[in-house]
Amino acid sequence: MSFDFSLIFDHLPLLLVGALVTIEITAVSVALGVLIGLFVGIAELSRYRWLRYPAKVYVDFIRGTPLLVQIFIIYFALPIILGMRIEPFVAAVAACSINSGAYVAEIFRAGIQSIDKGQMEAGRSLGMSWTQTMRYIVIPQAFRRIIPQLGNEFIAMLKDSSLVSVIGFEELTRKGQLVIASTYGSLEIWSAVAIIYLVMTLSITRFVAYLEKRFH
């Protein structure tokens, strides 16, 4: 057995391009996921059933089915209904952000519930509406509290985004497959791919720890 480092160095630029795409899709998906999650998380706590039930169904469905299947549904099944092709990037971002949204919703829900009830009462007793109190008092506090969990979600998404390689979207994992297809360097390239993922996730961990410190 020999480990051919030159194989890695030769294809490193290509893999790094893939890594950038991975970061891009993860960042966009988590950003959209946070937006979806914020509204769904609040909807889950609503006193209105017509908001609460759909939110719950969405969260349960997404968390109860594999991301891979969700990607297949959006890329292969949805076009049959829509009668039009969906670009791999659009399908990948849609699947990842809808998936992330469900997990972030649970993070927000728990974060909001962890804020002392007296905060809502104080806001309401001053004449602020429920929405105002949520916006100015409860959510800012909840957001600070859930930064570590959002960091974890970012890391999970970064790793799970490798699944969109199955629809031919050329992020890091897919780039690795393509390089291997032409070089047969499974050992070298998969090792390199793994280490690039590791560097990315460790960097995020560091960054989140820094954010946490700054906010406390």
């Binding site: 009462e121 007793s125 602020m128 506090q141």
Partner: protein, 239 residues
Amino acid sequence: MIIIKDLHKSFGDKEILRGIDLHVKKSEVVVVIGPSGSGKSTMLRCVNYLEVPSSGTITLDGKTITRDVDINTIRAEVGMVFQHFNLFPHMTVLQNITLAPLKVRGMSQHEANETAMELLRRVGLENKADARPAELSGGQQQRVAIARALAMRPKIMLFDEPTSALDPEMVNEVLEVMKALAESGMTMMVVTHEMGFARQVADRVLFVDEGRIVEQGSPDEVFSHAKEERTQSFLSKIL
């Protein structure tokens, strides 16, 4: 100013309030005493609808609270001070006080800041405007909470055991602020265990037990000449 008629409140099948009737006049200071679990806090929280009554009506300054009335506009006229202060920990003292005037009253930042500083002077904390609640002592936090409520220029102030969570040496600074407020003519309902305060400041003392007003009268009538046996037994335990 406050008219409570046949107020009932149940949590599940537990009946906390069993028919409260009360009429608080303008500038009157009513102190509510009673054993824990008697319903005195629930009664106070019903006044600004933090608890929704099971039945009965509440009329504040001539406006009866119904489904058609915007509860937020009514709450804006009723200040509330909580046992645990409930300051907003992510904001400075000044931001705590100015938030509701800015968002509810639509006050300008300049006007809101001026009002807040004036109120901070009144409660003796003008040098703490930029501090965070966590940097203040309990007594200071509660004084900020009072200033925060007053910033809305309420017509009525409700105090829910405002000194119960304080260290003993901080109780007086809060009571002094409340006393000054009472002397300024504010209509106040105060749930408290501070009998000294009740004696000194109250126009009327209510003794509440098992969800009913058992006895009421001037501090002297209730503290020194209680007619009801339950009142006497309660007072004998705490005085």
